[in-house]
Symmetry: C2
Subunit: 288 residues, 2 copies
């Protein structure tokens, strides 16, 4: 699914992948950040809990967003593909100012929503300015190429990661989550080793990477975002190794960005904040 075309005279809405386990009790920085961008007291938040097997995930997020001052918060109990054609659900999505996809299993999202009117409506909403966030499985699903599963460890190996088509709000990034907590650098490198065109975003828990309409990524939260930029990769052995073997990969650029850090997906420039000033990398290659 390639990105929906933006409507004339409208900017694409923010895309906010979250690394999972965002704080729901204390500061709730990430959830506040999403809610503010969705309109705060005037926000109409629609929650999609399809990834989750738990019955109360949708209502729990409704409660959270209401406590944080959302104008309204409503979850859509979508579990089947038939649910994804329900008129009342589509109307709720069309009126939403912010759409939030919960965690769980990203394959529950792609198998239920993929190719349905709900997926089309979310894509159109984002293209016309509505902010769309996802946490954990919900984050993985946002991009065109989704990590469906994989193994732990820092070294890329053939067969270590399973890719599948996602929602396709952007095709610039491949997202991984619970990144530090579950030792996932190897599987993200493996995903990029297939085809080094994309930028990998490894999101720690309670951390998000908000992708603006200008394709600048901004980091917010307690952990870090590991940016894996394959623009200058001069060699990937993915086509030459047997299943299970480690993969040679030459020339990956890696940035670790914390709260306030930014990465420009067009120029491939990374900036961190140091003593109030931005410290930036040189621009890498031109955009794909």
């Amino acid at each position: 699914m390639s990105p929906s075309r933006a409507f004339p005279h409208s900017e694409r809405g923010l895309i906010i992948p979250i690394g999972g386990a965002e704080d729901k009790v204390d500061d709730r920085t990430i959830l506040r950040h999403f809610l503010e961008r969705a309109g705060a007291g005037r926000a109409r938040v629609v929650i999609i809990p399809t990834a989750s097997e738990k019955e109360d995930t949708g209502t729990a997020y409704e409660k959270l967003f209401r406590e944080l001052g959302a104008g309204s918060a409503r979850h859509l109990p979508i579990t089947t593909r038939a649910d994804c054609e329900k008129e009342s659900f589509l109307e709720a999505l069309e009126r939403a100012t912010g759409i939030f996809l919960t965690g769980g299993n990203q394959l529950r999202l792609s198998t239920a929503l993929g190719g349905t009117e709900v997926a089309r409506t979310i894509r159109r909403a984002n293209a016309s300015g509505v902010v769309v966030a996802g946490t954990s499985a919900g984050a993985a699903f946002l991009s065109e190429h989704m990590i469906a599963g994989g193994e732990e460890g820092p070294t890329p190996r053939a067969g270590m990661v399973t890719l599948a088509p996602g929602l396709g709000l952007t095709n610039r990034v491949i997202i991984d989550q619970h990144f530090r907590q579950r030792d996932r650098l190897g599987r993200l490198l493996t995903a990029l080793a297939f085809n080094p065109f994309a930028v990998g975003l490894g999101l720690d828990e309670d951390t998000c990477a908000a992708i603006g309409p200008d394709n600048v990524v901004s980091v917010v939260g307690e952990g870090a975002v590991t940016v894996v930029d394959a623009a200058d990769v001069s060699f990937s052995a993915m086509g030459r190794v047997p299943q299970g073997a480690p993969i040679s990969l030459i020339g990956v650029r890696l940035h670790v960005l914390v709260d306030g850090g930014r990465f420009d997906l067009e120029t491939r420039t990374a900036c961190a904040v140091a003593d109030g000033d931005a410290v930036c990398s040189e621009a890498a290659e031109e955009e794909r």
Copy 2:
């Protein structure tokens, strides 16, 4: 990689995936079909043999296209990512009226070309009207979501297929090749079971499925194209089964089309030719 935007006032060029083992000795129907669309005697054909490990693949296709009357035919000996930035290669691609990707291993294509100037130039060329064909591995690589590998057999099973990002000339289809010869229905169904938005095209050998700028697919050749349309899938169990288990999949539509058959990717209508008349299916769902 999502499709390049078409230039104003220009139509996208044909995209011609070929199922491999196209006839190179007798009628050479498929190669003639490509060459005719590329301009026949005025065609400037550029061959990319990167998928192949054989030294002479590029020169063999040069010879074939010259024998068939191409205005010119030249292969680019691209094996590394550095090769993909060479000015002389980019100039050849910019002047091409037809670009042909040979067979071999599709991961050799995605790892060498992905994110490079050669990939961008092919995408731009196709967006502005240049016909791009690929056979076998070259066919798999053409679309956004590429089958990188998998297992034989008719039943979809979790873990049976490996997807990776491809060249991205279209994101409407997932292509598989040597389809009848290598018993690949199961792996194509598995690819669609992840996210039923796409249409699967299973290409037999010596058969191609030419995708027009209007997103109508036309079949040419000796074998069949198996169209696997997931638009009406009501259930995919991909998110609920362990590795290796068979996957429940409800509501797939399947068409087998031979020479002269057509499939409209927008309306999801299939037409076969019977006694000179077209016999068509009812339209399925609206486009994604």
